[in-house]
Amino acid sequence: MDRRTFFKASLAGGAALATGAASCPAQARGNKDLPPEALGLLFDSTLCVGCKACVAACKEANDMPPEFSTKDQYWDTPLDLSGKTLNVIKAYRNGTMEAKDRVENGFAFSKKSCMHCVDPSCVSACPVSAMQKDPKTGVVTYDKDACIGCRYCVAACPFGVPRFTYDKAIPQISKCQLCVHRLKDGKYAACAEVCPTGATLYGTVADIKKEIARRKTLEPGKQAMFPRGRLGGPDQSYPNVVGKYLDHTYGEKEFGGTQMLMLSGVPFEKLGYPDLPPRSDAALSETLQHTLYGGLIAPIAVLGALTFVARRNVKPEDEEGEQHGK
């Protein structure tokens, strides 16, 4: 091989790589920001009594089929999120289960439904824009007519939220969309609407954060007023005993933040919520992709270098015998 060709090619390739690397800082992407009118839920585990009215209301509002986990199939008894269940209440149980919201010999409830991440992995993963985050409300929606059923969102979500109907010839993804279809009738998330204790509360993330701050100033064990339904809606507040909150508000920092925020008396990992870093995986993944492929600069530069070298080295088939025999 002629050294000169190789040298030139190396130079061109090096330049291409350098271009790619140079574009790196500009392409690095941090976590996304909370949309201006972000909507969300507040789940306060200390208020939840485990009645599962929210599970039933969710089924009805979203027209989802029942799911059975008992031998006699009398009523809907989902144990986890699934293709048929968008919202579920789970219980943490320990020892004798004497006291609520206690780790030792205690119990607590947790809600599982879409967290509506500020920077969702499912939206970043989806190759066909079937998963979208509303630029105004931040609600993460799913469009089955766009979906190809690759299940990258199912695999990517750290909360295990998007589910898939494996038993269907025409399957789809199932996930909570914060009842956006009910907004036009002046209604809101069914789970919050029916919650008798206000454990699940609907509102703007700004209002929810204010409410969280208020609850943390309350004195545990004393009586206080707790809103129900929707923050900023008609007053449905009622008196209840203040729970012993942990300092940690789940969803405030985790994974770049989520629009469902949670308060609890027991650590969140006991409630089945993963300990996640503050940086979203979507930010990491997209930084990588944009560094390599931003503006297609690096690929085009490398292609140029490769074409230059290949042009010298590729001989038309007919001459091949002689060319490669030298």
């Binding site: 190759p127 190809i148 750290p158 292609l303």
Partner: protein, 386 residues
């Protein structure tokens, strides 16, 4: 090289109906029947995938491993046309053919796994296409590469079907397609690793290399390309009763060895840097499979260390098989063994699921046999025995 003209590719000829091809045909047919069932009754009716393991072997093996095992054509093109190592030219066409089938089948098998496959075109359609998705890059790039490979390979059959003019014109432009044929697999083979970045800590630390994932997957894809060329050259020599090509494979394996050494070094340094190596000594299945994977890379590194070892056809073949297993395990480990999405989820492929994968491999081999017998692929040579 005086015997150069003997290297011009020629069809092998011979009978297509043998017990072996019949077996391959039967296996392909069984896969076809299972797939028909899958399209009527859903993915759950034939596979064991679930919401904890939404991707099974149809993704991890058929696409991720399958396309990596089909990197022979890419690596040979890189070596011959970019690094101008003309002596490996006889290996290009057979490698390219195997890649062509490997990739085409990997591409087609994506459809089997897609729940809403009729929307597949959305990936390429402006308005639907979501360019931030790693999956988008993988899909577009693999599709483009399959097209490019058919173009690259077309000289082998254009002449046969009487399109000499097209062939002549194409010959003049071939260098561009060859350049694309080196760029595209570099892009998507690395991106197959990048797919795991967004899984974050759902991937066991032994395989969650973050920003290094694309480098690790690309390096092993090239390694697999080398290994597969050695594997296929040896098999088709014995299978079709042709002389062994050890003379070409020995220098080839020297390049492969250098790359292997740098890969093992990078892999270990990455684990050390991230402080993940400790988890390799825990009593877990992940740790077990990690060591099996690493052994598949480290053993060939030791056995092929000397030039004399690289002249032994059997040592070369064994090393190639080990490397293929290693590259395969890296991918299976990353996508399945090391994928941890919470307690209570299990996955092991069902029999029907496995038979589809087996059927796809059988069909690939069958198509390869038909092509080399009918079209000028393998270098013409006097059969050693016949």
């Amino acid at each position: 090289m005086a015997n150069n003209h003997a290297h011009a590719p020629a069809p092998l000829g011979g009978s297509l109906l043998t017990p072996f091809t019949l077996l391959l045909g039967a296996l392909s047919a069984i896969a076809g029947i299972i797939l028909a069932y899958r399209f009527f009754y859903g993915l759950g009716a034939v596979t064991n995938i679930n919401d904890g393991y939404p991707w099974g072997i149809w993704v991890a093996y058929d696409v991720v491993v399958g396309s990596a095992l089909a990197c022979g054509g890419f690596v040979m093109a890189l070596l011959v046309y970019i690094f101008n190592k003309g002596q490996y030219h006889p290996l290009v066409r057979p490698a390219l053919l195997a890649s062509l089938f490997g990739y085409t089948l990997a591409g087609v098998s994506v459809i089997f796994d897609l729940g809403r496959w009729w929307n597949f075109w959305h990936i390429f359609w402006p308005g639907y296409a979501q360019v931030n998705s790693v999956m988008f890059e993988v899909a577009v790039c693999i599709t483009a590469y399959i097209v490019v490979m058919w173009i690259e390979f077309s000289p082998a059959f254009l002449e046969k079907i009487g399109m000499k003019d097209v062939k002549r014109k194409l010959d003049k432009l071939l260098f561009f397609f060859i350049a694309l044929g080196v760029l595209l697999p570099s892009m998507h083979q690395s991106s197959l690793g990048s797919l795991l970045v967004i899984f974050g800590q759902q991937i066991h630390p032994l395989w969650q290399s973050g920003m290094l994932l694309p480098v690790i997957y690309l390096m092993t894809a090239v390694l697999l390309g080398f290994a597969v060329v050695i594997f296929e050259a040896t098999l088709s020599s014995t299978g079709f009763g042709r002389p062994l090509e050890t003379k070409v494979l020995t220098p080839l394996s020297r390049i492969m060895w250098g790359l292997l050494a740098s890969y093992v070094a990078l892999r270990v340094l990455d684990l050390l840097w991230r402080g993940a190596l400790g988890t390799a000594f825990a009593a877990t299945w992940q740790a077990f499979w990690f060591w099996v994977e690493m052994a598949c890379f480290i053993v060939p590194l030791a056995t092929l260390a000397s030039d004399s070892a690289r002249r032994s056809a059997s040592k070369l073949f064994t090393a190639a098989v080990l490397l293929m297993a290693g590259g395969m395990l890296l991918r299976i480990n990353g996508f399945l063994v090391g994928y941890q999405t919470g307690d209570g989820w299990h996955y092991f492929p069902s029999f029907a699921e496995l038979m589809v994968t087996v059927g796809i491999i059988a069909f690939e081999i069958l198509a390869y046999i038909v092509f080399v017998r009918k079209f000028p692929v393998l270098p013409a040579a006097q059969p050693a025995t016949r």
